[in-house]
């Protein structure tokens, strides 16, 4: 077996670096849009530093500009982040025995990109110790987080200077759709997305965007049910 050599931390940095290309435009877009929505710099930055979850930050800002009650804003944005529970569980077999303070920091830095990199490498590098795995994770986070936070700041600073002719009102929908496209991995994902769209449009008359929440629950159930049936069919064939 050919083992990739090199210190885990350095490898993490090297493999996290390409993700800067994604974090910078998205962070900047968040900074611009949140500033355009009327948030002062400290609140824009607090979003990116404390929440660190792009899709839910966009969700929260969009709903805030729609004048939706705070509780609904938080619940809707949190719903987008529930996949993190899955990430947290998937990390346990690898670094569950690391010291608590390390696990607390890893949790703070556990986003789509660092999670995807870490799981992939942990599966490949069976010989790594728990300390190696934590070091690799810290390495991936090193380029990713400053890029996200720095880009948010640049976006917020530029926010007011973007001309109206750029049609920035549509940047948020485009950003969301660009995030959704790659998520459509299976028929179950497509079915869930379809129910989410159809349900929200049909329930648009319900106050406080609650139609979105109802549609999301229906969409979750749809995705899970389509997956379950697909598995049953596979089971029959196998």
């Amino acid at each position: 077996m050919v083992r990739k050599r090199g210190a885990p931390f350095a490898r993490g940095v090297a493999e996290g670096l390409p993700f800067v290309v994604i974090m910078v435009p998205f962070g900047a877009l968040f900074g611009v849009l949140a500033t355009e929505a009327g948030l002062p710099l400290d609140q824009v930055m607090a979003f990116s530093v404390l929440v660190i979850a792009g899709a839910s930050q966009f969700t929260a800002v969009q709903l805030m500009t729609d004048g939706v009650p705070a509780v609904i804003v938080v619940l809707s944005a949190l719903a987008v982040n529930l996949r993190m529970v899955m990430y947290s569980a998937a990390m346990v077999p690898h670094i569950g025995s690391a010291p608590l303070w390390q696990r607390a920091i890893v949790s703070y830095l556990l986003v789509d990109q660092t999670y995807a990199l870490a799981i992939q490498s942990y599966e490949a590098e069976r010989a790594w110790s728990v300390a190696d795995k934590v070091a690799y994770f810290a390495g991936t986070a090193l380029p990713v987080f400053p890029a996200w936070i720095g880009a948010t700041w640049i976006g917020a600073a530029l926010g007011a200077q973007v001309p109206d002719s750029w049609q920035l009102d549509f940047a948020m929908p485009l950003a969301f759709l660009a995030l959704v496209g790659p998520m459509l991995k299976t028929r179950a994902h497509v079915a869930a997305a379809f129910v989410s769209v159809a349900g929200t449009l049909a329930l648009w008359w319900v106050p406080w965007n609650l139609g979105l929440m109802v549609a999301a629950v229906l969409a979750l159930a749809t995705g899970a049910e389509v997956e379950r049936r697909a598995e049953l069919r596979m089971g029959v064939r196998a």
Partner: protein, 105 residues
Amino acid sequence: MTVWLIILSLAALTYLTRFVFLGLVGDRPLPAWLLRHLRYTGVAVLPGLVAPLVVWPAATGGATDPVRLAAAVVALGVGAWRRDVIQAVVAGALTLAALSWLLPG
């Protein structure tokens, strides 16, 4: 004040989603039904959130706009096809710019 409340509660609850197993529950397998639902949280919320913005954009006073609709379809299609967020945004933005220029509203 309300905005700070939103930011801080969203931050705390999001942190909890990341910490719940690593810090609290530990190494216990998630039940299959729960995993099955968690896999669809992204596609259950985001498409619904964006649908009214695409179909009834505020910038046109809620009237459906073929230019925005086309840009949305391109962004989603390229994202699904290329599996790349950046390519999808760029394709959607270029479609929006090109069609706006061709069909000045």
